[in-house]
Symmetry: C2
Subunit: 190 residues, 2 copies
């Protein structure tokens, strides 16, 4: 999505630790008019996939998922991050290591909100090493749901997580794929 790449170049910056800061439009302040276009783009890509539900993960994913869900006419379920390790019979759970925060946590979804046979589109703002996405895919499989795809706003392609998940047969569509990133600039995969 050309407009997204331009926005990343114009409004993004690179913080210490090679972290891409896009908190002016994506994950602290949200440019809702633009993110609504992002939602429409996900709909264009996945409208024929028979999506029953959108699954995302708190916090930044929720807004984008809701804006996209309007186009699909489906509900959103957001996975919750849990610091406590009390496994309950009521939830599906996956362990996720966070690259950005150098920590790990459990991600949980109530069994009430994923039903066997449902076709799930996963939406998230970032994909780097792919741990969060991998966790969501694993939760869907435990629930007997079909993951029809993953819609990602920004993929740090050079970290390899996206391609690893594609190799597992999941259709991953990222609206901007970063090939390289340094103080010299950002380049994208076409």
């Amino acid at each position: 999505m050309k407009k997204l790449e331009e926005k990343i170049l114009k409004e993004g910056s690179i913080a210490i630790g090679n972290v891409l800061k896009v908190d002016g439009f994506l994950n602290h302040q949200m440019d809702v008019a633009f993110l609504d276009e992002v939602g429409a783009e996900f709909y264009r890509l996945f409208k024929d996939a028979g999506v029953n539900k959108i699954l995302t993960i708190e916090a930044s994913g929720i807004g984008i998922a809701c804006l996209a869900a309007r186009y699909f006419g489906v509900p959103v379920v957001f996975a919750k991050k849990s610091k406590s390790s009390n496994i309950s019979a009521d939830v599906y759970m996956a362990r996720v290591d966070s690259y950005t925060h150098n920590s790990s946590h459990d991600v949980i979804v109530s069994r009430d909100f994923l039903t066997k046979g449902e076709k799930i589109l996963i939406i998230d703002d970032f994909l780097a090493k792919g741990n969060a996405l991998q966790g969501l895919v694993s939760i869907c499989r435990h629930a007997g749901c079909e993951v029809v795809g993953a819609g990602i706003v920004i993929e740090k392609a050079y970290q390899g997580g996206g391609d690893e998940i594609r190799r597992q047969g999941v259709r991953v569509e990222s609206l901007a794929r970063i090939a390289s990133m340094s103080e010299n600039g950002i380049t994208f995969i076409d």
Copy 2:
């Protein structure tokens, strides 16, 4: 909002500790078509208030704020919950005690995203004792912003937080106001 009250009665339940569970449509699974109507209702209530920006708090508030922001044509900023107490010069901060989780945490907003003189509409899913809302109001005031109002989906009016904040001169509009709640049922303030 009649449809919201009906939805609470039909789909909500009361969990241990007198917690209202509406996670089937509001704060785990999100009924986006319905929450889009909620967004439109906030727009009807606040469309003449000159809103420049919507402020909410992660996680459940984000989706509702984004759906409402489409109608207003403004960006959303979401306050982040922080367990760490490292006060940075870059952020506005407030301390918030959570009634539901029996804990407290800091709530932070980057100084980059609140500008003196901006008219802010605060949106959140729940208002009980009002600690989160109070924290957001306090952050806006530190930033020199004007809080033109707060749009709340469900107010537990019997806990008093809403009226306390109204007494401070903030316009608080709650789409459902719970007068009482017990195993015998839920009653609303008209």
